[in-house]
Symmetry: C2
Subunit: 147 residues, 2 copies
């Protein structure tokens, strides 16, 4: 019997831990992990405030780190888990990486890339709604503290 169950929920939980770190740092709480052969090769959370840089979304930083780790721009065989639906910028970056799977938690009804059609690579499988309530609640709680 395996000690770990490497399910989508297992890895989304890891992404959610990253999102909680973002929350504690006053960043919009979005977290992300990239997995290759059941191994997490890169984790990050949103850092736009800390780095004063609108391109520092969790996915962009995690993509750069994964490519550095694999020494390859091509992330075929990898899965990205992210707590919030990727925006246009991140969907465009994921396109270039040709990543095999993208799993996201909460929908982003304001700036989610799906509002603009399918911007992902045709070979990328998209899975949505994994732990969406937990992912969404964290973001709602964050914006409550900002009012």
């Amino acid at each position: 019997m395996p000690i770990f169950d490497f399910s989508d929920e297992y890895f989304m939980q890891k992404a959610l831990l990253e999102a909680q770190m973002a929350f504690e740092e006053g960043e919009v709480p979005v977290g992300c992990v990239i997995v290759c052969n059941d191994k997490i090769i890169s984790t990050c959370h949103n850092m736009t405030k800390r780095l004063n840089d609108c391109t520092s979304h969790a996915e962009i930083i995690a993509l750069s780190a994964a490519q550095e780790y694999l020494q390859s721009k091509n992330l075929k065989g990898c899965t990205l888990y992210v707590t919030l639906e990727p925006c246009v910028m991140c969907a465009g970056a994921l396109y270039w990486s040709q990543i095999s799977r993208i799993v996201y938690g909460a929908e982003d009804k304001k700036r989610g890339s799906s509002l603009f059609g399918n911007l992902y690579h045709p070979k990328t499988e998209i899975v949505s709604g994994i732990m969406s309530e937990e992912c969404s609640l964290l973001i709602k709680d964050f914006f409550k503290t900002k009012r």
Copy 2:
């Protein structure tokens, strides 16, 4: 009589010089400058090969540098000049920056963001076709050397 004419062509010429540097380095030759009050605050060329990172397009790196320089995520009042039409990723990044103007040279008929609708910020003015022949020729020459 002014020594410099700060026209769109003037700054596109600077972006083209960056693109030529990319060419010499074996990178897809795209160059970019960001201008604020007639002053170039950031310049970059495509570095995806050197950095082994599909997110290292000229615009993304130049945006990060401009935000660092201005200590602001908001690039209102700035203009980005880029030799090739921005892709989806870069259009999405430019959206977040709320940059005032984007001026590009050559169209990208394969991956230009305009193929996917208007992904830019509604307040961003888009100007296309500045020195498009020179910008386009450099890219054609590059891909000829790759055959």
